[in-house]
Subunit: 434 residues, 2 copies
């Protein structure tokens, strides 16, 4: 058996300690699979004295994270510090510049600086790997890079944020509104104290940008991801969706739009109505799932735990096994020079069914006003439900349109915006095609 | 860009022509991902004159398949001939002996001779790859070998035969009995003229043996797979299962039984009742799905098209991309010398809920006789339905037991075997745990 792969861990939060536990518990098995042992040499974190429930005495403690990048006895630095810039980015640049491999779970950093880091890794002929950055323990980076490698992929989408899926599943199960479930999730530790990265769709957008680049062979373009979160979803939306045969999920979707000859890239994170016949409708709790549509494979689905110390550690160590086996290629599946810079596609001409929910003053002529605006925009209605909402005399109107361009929705909402019948902003959710 | 990977195709059925179409259609993309082009050099099949809908004129036609193994201008032989022995096996041995790589979709050959071929490949330092042998276009071999590499996997299971899943889904949807759906599936080309490999579970057993070896790091043991098919399932079974909250699926399951200290391997293909909350209950039509339970990753699900020319071609070419990238290790994820030879676990002490259906003569005391036999075997009933079946005075009794050892089921059936109340053999199906 060859010499061990020597690694250093920067960051000893739950994922970092998970990596230590995994490497200790499965060491013999990993050595059999990787062809050589994986050995932790050094560790670093902000606070040395903190009790993390793992024994660190066998590993060299380093106070200055920067030392890891240049230490002569380290082959791979594993970064679990987080943050798109700052110390994590400095460590990545220094490690790769020094010709060492770099493994990270840091989706924000890869979404913002992945292109630069991938080029740096290539120029130094070393590995940059980030399986743990997308969908926790699900080996979807590998699935796209290797398993689906023979395919042209024109669409990749999925449930990329466990917190949102947990909140939506719980809202559905308990019939509660968003804010109630969020407080409960925070109390139980399923949601962060500041949950905006999760619930506003930013975290899912980071992951989507990474998946899109790998799927399409395009330069990563996080700035091109439109993101809307789940804050404004009511228990009533979930109930109406259910009555119509749908479940609401936060979906990140990236697609190549080749309609006008040239390839354009469309990327959006938003709550969608998912038909019950679609596998994503059955993904509940903190589970993640990614669908990639290949021109030969057809629809591939990868599903599993989207977060958590142990699943994320599983993804980190999968990258280490690849490095130990010397099975590492370019970070985004092809050399940076081969990645295309695709223009962004506009959403206005995208065609699909749409769910629109409005809270309206319950008075004569409201429905006539709304339906006239829709007619003028060329938008036709497939189904409509009007229900009373409360004692204040307002009513809830929920409808699903026939397939039409998003521009028609925009036009309708623009016409209705000044209307005094509308109480608050309408909720618009697209319906995921089967 | 490096020199092309030169391949030869043996077998030009639907999958073979699919591989040609894929390599032609996606050639530029494949070269970007693989770092070099993949080039078809030679082809062979039984009948040269047959019109296959693809233009073969650019490729050297070889009449004697054996030539491919030794031709100096071929790096990889792709075998799509089929058959566990015979010409396919000869070609595999000769190609690997000659130090060339070998890619196959031949599950029967790998199930029977995979251990021998893997050793041969290792001794010649060349690659043996068979992604297409399991679950069509789903990259599950790669998922287990690479993505889940850090995990101890103690259980792998799934829907491994598209024909059976298509038949079961259709029986459910249409309320028809097995034989009616089979004839229809045969007429439409979804089932073979001789469907026994599929519907008796042999095809799924081949795939299960391969998955088990990869998951557990154990020597492949096809002889140790118990296989039962779907021939005896009635429309009434599906209806009763549905009433009880289950769907019937043909499940291949392999598990490490570590109860008595030593690790034993259990492998079985059989129809099971799958709870609606389980993702496999929602896999319909010819789709396949595989679940692997890792000790860190938790439950990983891989789902997609289980057969068909294009998905299978996607898997074949994924292997070729790996070879082009020089990212190939031992066939079963670790060197043959590291694979453990595990003893087979007995089924009798396995514990679970079970569905039992009997057709009985509708006369006084039948239920008393059955329930007494169950009581004597220590088996308790969770739910029971008795319905009339037909005009002949027989009745159908369907029940689900509480969790108990399989031995108790065996004992009950043994007691009841001589009974004149039973019309035909009882149907026993285990319930898949959530």
């Amino acid at each position: 058996m060859s010499s061990p792969l020597r690694i250093a861990l920067a960051g000893l939060g739950t994922v970092g300690t998970g990596v230590i536990q995994l490497i200790e518990e499965n060491s013999a098995l990993i050595a059999r699979r990787a062809g050589r042992p994986i050995e932790i040499v050094a560790v670093t974190a902000r606070d040395r004295s903190k009790n993390r429930g793992v024994d660190l005495s066998a590993y060299r403690w380093v106070d200055d994270m920067g030392e890891l990048a240049t230490a002569s006895d380290i082959d791979v630095v594993v970064e679990l510090v987080g943050g798109s810039d700052g110390p994590a980015l400095t460590l990545a640049r220094e490690t790769l510049s020094n010709g060492r491999s770099f493994v990270t779970a840091n989706k924000a950093m890869i979404a913002h600086h992945g292109a630069e880091l991938a080029k740096l890794a290539e120029s130094k002929n070393t590995a940059l790997k980030f399986e743990a950055a997308v969908a926790g323990g699900i080996p979807v980076i590998q699935g796209l890079r290797d398993g689906a490698a023979a395919n042209r992929i024109d669409r990749v989408y999925g449930i990329l944020n466990g917190t949102c899926n947990f909140i939506l599943s719980t809202m559905e199960k308990e019939g509660l509104d968003f804010t109630d479930v969020l407080s409960d999730a925070q109390a139980k530790g399923f949601a962060e104290a500041d949950p905006s990265f999760d619930i506003d769709g930013i975290d899912a957008a980071h992951k989507l940008a990474i998946l899109a680049s790998l799927s399409f062979g395009s330069e990563i373009d996080f700035g091109g991801v439109e993101a809307r979160g789940i804050r404004k979803i009511l228990a009533a939306d979930i109930a109406q969706a259910k009555a119509l045969g749908y479940r609401i999920r936060l979906i990140g979707l990236a697609e190549i739009d080749g309609e006008n000859g040239a390839s354009e890239i469309f990327q959006r994170v938003q709550p969608c109505l998912v038909p019950l016949a679609h596998p994503l409708a059955h993904v509940t709790g903190a589970t993640n799932a990614v669908v990639a549509e290949g021109n030969f494979s057809g629809r591939l689905l990868f599903q599993g735990a989207g977060a958590g110390d142990r699943p994320t550690a599983s993804a980190v160590v999968a990258d280490l096994v690849d490095i130990a086996r010397k099975e590492t290629g370019p970070a985004f599946s092809m050399p940076s020079s081969e990645l295309e810079k695709l223009p962004r596609a506009a959403s206005a001409h995208r065609v699909g069914k749409t769910y629109i929910r409005m809270i309206v003053a319950d008075r004569v002529g409201v429905l006539a006003e709304i339906t006239a605006a829709m007619r003028d925009a060329g938008l036709s209605i497939e189904s409509l439900i009007q229900t009373e909402t409360s004692d204040d005399g307002s009513a809830l109107i929920a409808m699903v349109t026939h397939a039409g361009p998003e521009q028609a929705i925009n036009d309708t909402l623009k016409t209705l915006a000044p209307s005094e019948s509308l109480m608050g902003e309408p909720m618009v959710m697209h319906i995921l095609g089967e």
